[in-house]
């Protein structure tokens, strides 16, 4: 027990004596070495052109990506417009009223039996025959006059 006490007394006496030491001039040179280390770190972190541009390039790439996605998967405006126009034309109140007033049984039968086609063809033939001109007795001057009119 006395030995134990002696050791701790001795330790307490030695407490103030630092058993470690440092290379000579270490603390004097440390601030300079630290300054150099900081300069090296700052140089490593100095931004290059790519580092400056990086956020902007990233932003631009992001926008392009969104645009590409929109073009690929976004709504097709040309189809939409046609569809809208068709719908408007079909559901227009005036058109509907006119359609119902003009509609009669004869039209329905014609629609079902394709008589319209035959009528139309007859009408077209008539028109064509009406505008047929006999050019056999015309001189060259008469033909030119016709072309000019």
């Amino acid at each position: 027990m006395n030995k134990d006490k002696d050791i701790f007394d001795a330790l307490n006496e030695l407490k103030g004596n630092n058993p470690f030491d440092v290379p000579e001039g270490y603390f004097d040179s440390f601030p300079q070495r630290m300054k150099e280390r900081i300069e090296r770190e700052d140089e490593n972190q100095r931004p290059g052109l790519i580092r400056i541009m990086k956020p902007w390039l990233g932003l631009a790439a992001g926008f392009l990506f969104i645009i590409a996605l929109y073009i690929t998967f976004g709504p097709d405006f040309s189809n939409t417009k046609t569809a809208e126009v068709n719908t408007e034309m079909f559901f227009d109140d005036g058109t509907l009223d006119q359609f119902f007033t003009e509609f009669n049984e004869y039209d329905l039968i014609c629609y079902l039996t394709d008589c319209n086609k035959t009528d139309k063809q007859d009408k077209t033939n008539n028109i064509n025959s009406e505008i047929e001109i006999d050019v056999t007795g015309l001189t060259q001057d008469d033909v030119e006059d016709l072309i000019l009119f």
Partner: protein, 186 residues
Amino acid sequence: MTDTGLSDKKIIQTLKDSRDKERAFSLILKKYQERLYWYIRKMVISHDDTDDILQNSFLKIWKGLDKFRGDSSIYTWVYRIATNETFTFLKTRDKQRAFSINKEESSFENTLKSDHHFNGTELQRKLQSFILKLPDKQRLIFNMKYFDEMKYEEISRITGTSVGSLKASYHHAVNKIKDMFNNELI
């Protein structure tokens, strides 16, 4: 271990008034380089490792000086940084040792034996080797209390541990060292 330079309050004032970061850093460096060196050295024993950790700590201080608002004292702030850097080093070292073939060679006790910068008595060497057997955090608390004679409140602010836990930890550390000495004597 000399106390050089201005008081912490004046350093903070210098930083606030002139925003002269370099001047404030130079003052902190002048005031704390030796204190922090010995604080770290007792934990890692080797001078070279201490030098690395000290440089990393001051680099962190330099980088953090812009954001330092003086909410805590510079003293607490710089010690906290040095403590974190030391523990980071110790953790890395432990991981490396876990994969090392010759664990004995890389032990702190071996470092102490081969340290050319240790010039203490045999009793001091024995005390250091016993301290090195303590867990890292207990060792840190023992060093702060026994050698640096810090108050528990100061240690608490630096380590973020409650005063009660610190007292218990220090008490355990002292008893362990006493036991190791007693076993040596038997």
